[in-house]
Structures are given as C-alpha cells and as structure tokens.
C-alpha cells in the first residue's frame, strides 16, 4: 500500500481537517482580544477559505480512482458529490454569521468542517469499516452541532432525540454490516456482492439487509425512520439544520446508492405493480411511497416554515428513492443532480427563514407576511427557492424531478413497472404545491403586520445577500441549462 498516494488523493479532506484545527487554534488564541462579530467573520472566512482550497484542489487534480485496494473509490462522480458538499458547507458557514448563535465560534466552525470531512469520505468509501467510521465522524459532529444552543430547551431536546435515534440506527447499521461480514467474509462492497448472490434469501441475510436499510434510511430520513427530522429541522441551530438537510442528505443518499447497487446487485428484487419479488427494491419502494404520501400530507398542516421544510424534505427523499430504484447509471446521475439542486434550494430557503426568524422572532407562516416590502431581494430569492422545491419549470427542481421520474420510468427495459410509484409521486407533487404556495402567499400577498416596525426594511449582511443571490442564480441557471451537468454526470457514472 502506497501511503504517499493515499495522502495525495485525500488532500482535499486533509485541507479541511487542517483548516478545522487552524480555526480552533486561531479562535482560542484571539478570543480574548476580538469582539464576537469579528471572531465570527474571521472563523467563517477561514472555513470558507479551506472549502475553497479543497474545491480548487478537486477541480485541478484528476480524480485518483481506486485507492488502497478498493477501500476508497474517488472517481469523477464521487468527487462531484464532494465538490457539491464543499459548496454547501461554504453556504452554511456564511449563513451562520447572520445567526451568531454561540460564543464558541472556533468549535462550531471546526465541527462544521469535520462533519464535511466525514460526509466527503462517506461519498468515497467502499469498505464497510471505512463507511462506518466516516459515517460516525459526520454523525457525531452533527449531533454536537445540533446541540449548540445550550440555552434553548427545544434545541437541546431535538439534539438529544437526534443523538439517541441516530445512535440506535447506527447500531442497526453496524449490526447489519457485521452480519454481512459474517456471511461473506468480506468487508468490501464489490467483493461481497458475488458471495452474497450465492446465498439467496438466507434469513440472516434478510435481517442484515433490513438493518442496513434501517441505518441508511435514518440518515436520508425516509418513513418510517424519519421521526427525528421535523424536530431537528425546527429546533436545531439554523446552519446546522441547513447542513443536515442538504449536505448530510446528499452524502447519505450517495452511500445508499453505492451500498445497494454494488453490495446487493443480485438481491434487488422487483417492486413492479403486480410483480413483487423480495429484495431491497420493494423495501425502498414502500419507503418511497410512504415518504411521499406522509411528507406531503403532514406538510399541509404545518404552521412553522422550518417544520414544513422538514416534511417536504421527507417527501423529497421519497422522490429521490425513485431514482435509486431505477438501479442504473442514469438513475444515479438523476438522483445526484436532483439532490444537488434540492440542496441548493433548501439551503437558500433555510437562509431566508433564518433572517425572518432573527428579525421577527419566529418562523411561523405569519412571520413571513409582507416580506416583499421589507426586502425585495429576500422575497425574490425565496420565490426562486420555493418554486424550485415545488418543481416548477424553468427552475432546477423541475429538471431534477423530471430526470428522476424519467429514469424510473425507463428502468427495467422500459416496462414501466414503477409507473404506480411515479403516478403517486406526481399526484402528491400537485398536493405539495398547496403548502409551497402558502409560503409565497405570505411573502408576497399579505401585508406586514402592523406594529413591530411594520414594513421597515430588514438589515441583511452583504455576505448573506451574496450567498442567497448566488444560490438563486445557480438554481435558475441549472434549470435553464440542465444539459451540461446532467450529461456529464451520466457519462461519469456510466463509465
């Protein structure tokens, strides 16, 4: 094993980890002398610089490919996911200046970066030990990040729930992986696959498969393993929630796809209408159907925007599962594209919600009333993000959804076996329009409440403005010019 090559290949992750340490040291050294706002800016600037460094490295260097005998596979597609993760982390970091939620700034930023390192390794891990280690690095960082508002009871409660449920699902995953190792004697996904194929539907294998689905289903928040999500999205500090909703979901989905397509290619089964065969397909199909239904229906009656976004996130996870069930490169490309566009929009929506929350004291729908008068820019950005989440053309969300549905429809030789699930998803998308438009109605149609400075403009930091505008422009551009990225991803995953 050539350690030099590994170190070279993992340089982006190393840059982020070193930046995390540097931020910790810098903040500890300067904490006494500088005021809190200055420390926030300095720490975030350092963190953003680290992310940019990692991004530049990834963009400039060729992807290293298989490393350490197949332990890590850093190909074009996983490097794309890593780059998206770095971008999302940058956006979350900048948004956290606005919230200024804690005085332990160095720790906060360092944990954000470490979580990103974990997520990036998750996207490349092929070896179950490494999968688990990176998953735990990311998860533990995120648990701690969720608990950062120590004075908020709800925040702590949510963090504790996240931790306990997360711990249990990790246990399931670990149990499942140990059973898989026991059955096959291998820890690497691709080598495990042929040995498992010979076993058929062994009872222990069924338990292992179900455990893995539980563990990963928790990370991507699909029904019935979604219960933590609304609480965490609502009560965790806003940038944490944004990172959990975007980056963590993206990396976990990518891991889920690799696990299923490379670890259990022979155990897929079928989830066709009237053509069920045991395997992970029917499990995911059921989870997708339940998530799409429950997420959209429960979102209808929410009055808190963050909670609304949480349920809509559950529904979006359901849509994305359709792409996983396509079971081919096209489906994977569609899911990655879908999730990156979703992540951009959801981070933006969380950013706007954070500003509304800070200025008006809550994230209920009424708090958004008259946003148009207070800040046309915020309202316009929110308009783009929400309509992209709702999947209206010409925004990126539409293209992503279209690609995922098209991939699901074309899977299995064009037999249209998944058409029942697509029809259900389309119907529920129509339902979802109702609650998405509720948010916009508040922002655009309703007048601001009298009192509370009524329609006075809100102050928004220039950096936040730049980030929100950048996200909105990216969503519009990815929607108007979908061809390049999507076909690039298909090519990268097809080879």
């Amino acid at each position: 094993m050539n350690y030099g090559a590994i170190a070279w290949a993992l340089a982006p992750e190393a840059i982020l980890a070193l930046t995390a340490l540097a931020v910790l040291g810098m903040d500890a050294a300067l904490a006494r002398r500088w005021s809190v706002p200055v420390r926030w800016r300095a720490a975030v600037a350092a963190g953003v610089a680290g992310c940019l460094g990692a991004l530049v490295w990834m963009a400039a260097a060729d992807p290293p490919g298989r490393l350490a005998g197949g332990m890590l596979v850093l190909d074009d597609a996983s490097r794309f996911v890593c780059q998206a993760l770095a971008v999302l982390t940058m956006a979350s970091l900048v948004l956290s200046i606005e919230t200024a939620l804690t005085e332990h700034i160095g720790e906060y930023v360092a944990l954000m970066l470490l979580a990103t390192v974990g997520l990036m390794l998750m996207a490349g891990a092929e070896n179950m030990v490494l999968v688990y280690a990176s998953l735990e690095l990311a998860s533990l960082s995120l648990y701690a990040l969720a608990a950062f508002q120590r004075e908020s009871r709800h925040g702590l409660e949510a963090a504790l729930k996240y931790f306990l449920l997360g711990g249990m699902s990790s246990a399931f995953l670990l149990y499942g992986m140990s059973a898989l190792y026991g059955l096959s004697g291998e820890v690497e996904l691709s080598r495990m696959a042929p040995k498992l194929a010979r076993l058929g539907m062994d009872p222990l294998l069924i338990v292992a498969l179900a455990s893995v689905v539980v563990g990963l289903g928790f990370k991507v928040a699909v029904v019935p393993f979604h219960l933590w999500a609304p609480d965490v999205y609502q009560a965790a500090p806003l940038p944490t929630a944004a990172l959990v909703a975007s980056g963590s979901k993206m990396a976990s989905f990518y891991l889920l796809i690799r696990f299923m397509l490379e670890g259990f290619p022979e155990l897929a089964g079928r989830a066709d209408w009237r053509g069920w065969e045991g395997g992970w397909m029917p499990l995911l199909g059921m989870a997708a159907a339940l998530s799409i239904g429950l997420g959209n229906l429960v979102a209808l009656v929410q009055s808190s925007v963050r909670r609304l976004l949480a349920y809509s996130a559950i529904a979006h996870a359901g849509y994305a599962l359709l792409g996983v069930m396509a079971g081919n490169a096209e489906g994977t490309a569609a899911v990655v594209y879908y999730l990156s566009t979703y992540a951009l929009a959801v981070i933006g929506a969380f950013g706007v919600a954070g500003i509304v929350e800070r200025n008006s004291g809550g994230d209920r729908l009424e708090n958004f009333a008259g946003l148009w008068q207070r800040s046309p820019l915020l309202a316009a950005c929110l308009f783009v993000f929400i309509l992209s989440l709702a999947g209206l053309p010409p925004l990126a969300g539409f293209v992503g959804k279209f690609a995922v549905f098209a991939a699901a429809a074309g899977a299995g030789g064009g037999g249209l076996g998944l058409i029942w699930l697509i029809a259900w998803a389309l119907g529920m998308s129509a339902v979802s329009l109702y609650y998405y438009l509720q948010v916009l109605k508040q922002a655009y149609v309703r007048e601001a409440e009298a009192g509370r400075g009524s329609s006075a403009a809100w102050r928004v930091l220039p950096a936040t403005r730049v980030v929100l505008l950048g996200l909105a422009v990216a969503v519009v551009l990815l929607g108007c010019f979908p061809g390049g990225v999507l076909s690039w991803l298909r090519a990268a995953l097809g080879s």
């Binding site: 449920l165 179900a210 045991g278 076909s487």
Partner: protein, 678 residues
C-alpha cells in the same frame, strides 16, 4: 490570437441583461445606482464587443467561427443553440454597443428629471442585452427569442410614458403590427426546421445555411411552383418587413416616436429597426440560393429589392411634408432602411451592411441633436414653433448639421455619401431592372430636400415659439459630448468605406482590404458619384429656396410647399393615408366580422341554442342536484380528508422519544417479516 473571445462571447449580452435584472429589483430612489449599473455593464459589453470585432478579423484565423451547445434534449432530438463570430457579428456587436453606450450617457441628461429614471435604465439595459444577443446568434431559434425580446423592450419603451394615451396606443400599435411580420418569420423558421432538421446557421457543414442544406432546399418545390428556398426566404422576409418598417408594415415606426428621445435614437433608428436588415443579411446564403446559381438574382432577393426601393422613395416623400421633428426623422429612417434592403436585394451585401452601420451612427446623431433641441425648447416638437435655435445651441446645431450632411450624402467627408453611392452603384449593376436605381436617385434628392427643410425651420430664421424664448438653453455637457463623439465617428467612418480603400466592405465579406485608388476614378463610379451629388445638390437648393431664403415669421404661416402643390402636400402630410386605408380595410373588416358574428350569434344561433338551452337547463338542474348532493360533498370531503390525513399523521409526531424508537424497531421487524414471508 484573440480566439478566446469566441468562447466568451456570451458575456457580451449577459452583462447588460444581468444589470437589467438587478435594476428591476432596485427601488425608484436608486437613481445613481441605476446609472452606474447600466453604463458600467454596457461599458464591459462594449470593450468585449470591440475585442470580438478584432477577433473576427479575416486574418485572425482559426476554423470554426461558431460555438454550439445542446440546450435541451427531447427524447432523442437535441435542441441546439449557439453563437457565431463572423465579420457580420463582429461589426454589428461593435456598432450596437458603441452607439448604445453613447446614448446611455446622453440619457443621463435627457431623462434626468424623469421620476422613473431607474425603470428607464432597466428597460434600456434589457434592450441592449437582447439586441447584442440577437446579433451574435448562430441558431435562428435563439435569434427569434432575442427578436421577440427586443420587440418587448421596444413596446415597453415606446409606452414608457404610458399615462399619455398617444404613447400607450403607439406601443400597442408597434407591438401588433410587428407581430404580423413575426408570424411570417415564425412560420418560415418552422418550415425551415421541417425541411432541414436544424435551425443552426453554421454547424460544420450541417447547418441550415451551408451548402448541403441549401442544395436540398433549392431542389424541392413548394406551393405555386416556387422553390422551398424562395418560400422560406419570403416568409422570413415578412419578419424583416415588420421589424424594419418596410412598406406596407411601416406604419408603426413614426408612431413609435411617442417614446423618449434616447429610445427613438437607440431602438427606432440605430439598432432594433435595423434588425430586419440584419436578419436578411444573416440568412443571405438562403436568400441568395437559386437554381441558376447566379448571385443577386434569386426570386426572394428580387422581392427584397423592390420592397426596399419603393419604401426608400415613398417614405422620403412623406418625410418632406411632416411637421413633427421626430416624425420627419422616423420617415427618414424608414426610407434609409429601404435603401439597405434595396442594397441587399440587388446583391450589394457588403455595401448594404456598410450603410446600416453608417446610418446607425448618423441617425443616432440626428436623433440626439433633435432630442437636444426638443429638450432646449421645453419639449416642443413641432418645427413650426421652433426656429433660430442656432444662436442658443451652437453645439447641437453643429452636430445636427454633420448628421444632416451625412444623411443627405454631401460628398467626400461624410460616410453617408460613400455608402449611398455604393448602393446606387450596386443598383445600377442589377441586371433585372434599372428602375430601383432611378427610384434610389430620386430618393437622394428628396432626402436632401427634407433635411434642408428641417434644418432651415429648426435652426434658421427667427424663433416662432412665442413666450418661452428667454428660457431656451444649450443642453448640458453630458448630452453634448455623446453628440460630438458621434459626429467625429460619422466623419471618420467615411475613411474606411471609399471605393479607393473599401476596408469595411471587404472586412464584412471576410477579405483583407487593399488600397485601390484607381477604382475611385473608374468611369462608372465617377459617373454615378457625379449624378448623385448633382441630384443631392438640387434637393438642397430646392429646400433652401423654399424654406431658407425667406424664413417664415409666424408659427401658423402656411408651408411654402403647400402653396406650390396643395394636393400633393396634403396627401403626403396625411402620410399617403396608409393609416386611414388600414382603418377602412383591415380594422373595419375585423370590426365588421365581429359585428357579423355577433349578429349570427344573437339571431341565428341563439334560437337554436334556446332550445338546446332548455335541454341543457334540464340537464343542468340534474347535474346541479348531483353536484350539490354528490360531487361537492365528495370533493370537499376529499380535500378535508387530505388535510385530515395530514393532521392525523402529524399527530403521530408528538415528540415522544419512546414511541419514535419503537417505530424504528417495528419498521425493521416489519421489513424482515415481509421479506421472509411476504
């Protein structure tokens, strides 16, 4: 060298468009920001455009002038867009961005007092971006999109003072009339797509303007025995007629003068209205495609030439009898666009484009001069109530005079002379007929006449506007400087377009220019130059004798030309009654058809419908009952059910951790059980 600009050409339209987007979000009070954003973004575009101009140099080299990309894929059909950097695009980019930049600066002064200054710059930037996008398009679909966007910008800007009924009506008229032409263009593009399967002009041999596609188009025969190429060309030319105000769709352009003067200068004189000419130039290989294969003789180009020639002389005649300062210039624009069309039609591709560019500069200059005069006279636009402005506004007078001499074609030092002369030369050489040449020559005389009339009435004689005399003032420097720059440009342009060194024309045709001093003294060239100078001189003298020698003293004195030829004058003053004819035919027949349908509806169908109605009423009652007692409750119940489901499910998320953990475990157990026994 310079090949980087080809890849980055998209930045040119993007900069003003982005500025327009930002300006749309800028509140009214942000005037300073609006000016900076608009002018700043356009400066970026101008610098890049000049880089593109030099990048399109014939010697710049590098095969493949086009950059194409796939925009969308429907099934297996890719929809491709792209841009092209050929000499035509390069020259147009440089011209449009430069003229636009000068007019943006001029607007700072002209629109200074307008409360909607920010909106003005937003629309103007939007226009500039769309126009720059139009001229670089390699895909005719892209061109059509930009074509419609500039049409929208024109509509918005003509109606900028929408509280004035005339402006609102003019905006509507412009939009509707050009739409008639656009319908033809759209049909032409659809036809072209069905025949060739692509809308890319150039695509490494597969484009619709390249030899392979054209050969097919020429061979097939369409309705009425004409070739498919001719049919498509004529349909596309319909769009050009509408946009460039050619007869019979020219009626919108004079009305468009209701917009602010910088708009008239930029959109309705220099750039957008020339888009029709540009379109013909862009699809010139298609227009020129003919079975015989001789250049300049295809049926489509013959149509272009005749339409252009008739427009040129007719609009010039109308211009001689107008009193609104801007309307005179508007008819002059229509006439000059006719010259350009005629040039393209008789095969003078390069000289037509040279005239387009020259015209953009001197007509923008004339409009800025007119705007400055109007600005100085407190928004008075009637030339009968102006006069003697030379004394108060020397710079405006000088600039306007340069523009006038360029338009009239005063020999040697003004670009208008050389370009117009080139057109006449090309028309003389047209084997089909000499009549366009004669019409063009007559137009030259008329042009000189109406410009002399305008100059004499605005700047000569005594002020006839009554009380406001004391307050006439020269415009501020921010308006004067663009005029001076344009005036210098008009003179400088004449250097690069003479027959002795036809640099610009050779550039447009993709060749290196050489000095051929001998060409200047060729027999035919000299002969035509002499004839046109003579006719121009006659026009000037006639104008001077009628209006300059004995200037009018009062605003209500009758026009000298009216006294000489009352019947002709009043016909021309009423613009040959085009509007009235349209009112009497198109508008009235539309109204008549509406009346007829209304009558049919009331008297005939209604009787039938009455009985059907009773039947329907009965059915209606039935369905109402079913609606009220079955469908509505079911739908309401359904909606309520959906919400209720949500509420019910939301109840499961009560926040009790024990229950959450149990659900996870139960989910796992259910999956295992299902897979084992399911």
């Amino acid at each position: 060298m310079m090949s980087w600009i080809r890849e980055w050409l998209w930045l040119i339209p993007l900069a003003p468009l982005a500025a327009a987007g930002l300006l749309a979000l800028t509140p009214r009070a942000g005037r300073r920001r609006a000016a900076w954003l608009g002018i700043g973004s356009l400066s970026v575009a101008t610098v890049l455009s000049w880089a593109a101009f030099f990048g399109a140099w014939p010697g710049a080299g590098g095969a493949g002038r086009e950059v194409n990309f796939t925009w969308l894929t429907f099934g297996r059909t890719p929809l491709e867009l792209g841009w092209v950097l050929d000499p035509l695009t390069g020259a147009m980019l440089a011209m449009v961005s430069t003229v636009a930049l000068l007019i943006f600066v001029y607007s700072l002064g002209d629109m200074r007092a307008d409360p909607n200054f920010t909106r003005f710059f937003c629309f103007l930037s939007f226009f500039a971006g769309s126009m720059l996008g139009l001229v670089m398009a390699n895909s005719l679909l892209w061109l059509f999109m930009c074509w419609e966007l500039v049409g929208l910008a024109s509509y918005l800007l003509i109606g900028f003072w929408f509280e004035k009924p005339a402006a609102a009506a003019a905006a509507k008229k412009a939009f509707l009339v050009t739409r008639i032409g656009d319908l033809g263009l759209l049909l032409g593009l659809i036809y072209l797509y069905t025949e060739t399967g692509t809308l890319l002009c150039y695509d490494e041999g597969r484009g619709c303007l390249e030899a392979a596609a054209l050969a097919g188009l020429v061979e097939r025969v369409s309705v009425g025995g004409i070739t498919v190429a001719t049919a498509i060309s004529l349909l596309i030319f319909c769009g050009a007629i509408g946009k460039s105000g050619q007869v019979p769709l020219h009626v919108w352009l004079p009305d468009a003068m209701e917009g602010p003067t910088p708009v008239s200068a930029l959109i309705h004189a220099a750039t957008m209205v020339a888009a029709g000419v540009f379109l013909v130039a862009r699809v010139y290989p298609l227009m020129d495609a003919d079975v015989a294969g001789e250049p300049g003789l295809s049926a489509a180009l013959q149509g272009v030439a005749w339409v252009g020639a008739v427009t040129a002389v007719m609009a010039a005649a109308i211009a001689a009898a107008q009193f609104d300062l801007k309307r005179i210039l508007a008819y002059s624009t229509v006439s000059q666009l006719g010259y350009m069309m005629m040039a393209l039609g008789v095969g003078g591709y390069a000289v037509g484009m040279f005239h387009l560019i020259a015209h953009a500069f001197f007509k923008a200059l004339l409009f800025l001069g007119a705007g400055s005069a109007i600005h100085g006279c407190h928004h008075e636009r009637d030339i009968r109530r102006m006069g003697g402005l030379r004394r108060w506004m020397p710079v405006t007078f000088a600039a306007h005079a340069v523009g006038m001499m360029a338009l009239a074609g005063v020999p040697l030092f003004f670009c208008g002379f050389w370009s117009k002369d080139g057109i006449l030369h090309a028309a003389w050489g047209w084997p089909v007929s000499r009549l366009p040449f004669l019409l063009g020559l007559a137009g030259v005389g008329l042009t000189a006449f109406y410009m002399m009339r305008q100059m004499a009435m605005v700047y000569g004689g005594e002020y006839r506007g009554g009380q406001l005399k004391k307050e006439i003032h020269e415009s501020p420097a921010v308006m004067r400087v663009p005029m001076v720059i344009l005036a210098v440009a008009v003179v400088l342009l004449s250097v690069v377009g003479t027959p002795a060194w036809p640099w610009l024309e050779e550039f447009l045709e993709g060749r290196e220019a050489a000095v051929r001093a001998g060409d200047l003294f060729e027999h035919e060239t000299l002969w035509i130059m002499g004839a046109s100078a003579l006719v121009m001189g006659a026009g000037l003298v006639a104008g001077w004798r009628l209006y300059g020698r004995r200037p009018q003293r009062r605003a209500d004195a009758p026009d000298p030309l009216r006294m000489a030829q009352p019947a002709v004058f009043s016909l021309l003053e009423q613009r040959l009654r085009f509007d009235e004819v349209y009112e009497a035919t198109v508008v009235r027949s539309a109204a008549w058809a509406a009346e007829a349908w209304d009558w049919l509806e009331r008297e005939v169908w209604q009787g039938l419908m009455q009985w059907a109605g009773y039947g329907a009423l009965a059915a209606g009652w039935l369905s109402r009952l079913s609606d009220e007692y079955l469908v509505n409750p079911a739908f309401d119940g359904g909606c309520e059910g959906v919400r209720g489901c949500g509420r019910g499910m939301s109840g499961w998320h009560g926040g009790r951790l024990r229950i959450y953990l149990r659900v996870v475990a139960a989910g796992m157990a259910a999956m295992a059980v299902w897979l084992t026994w399911g």
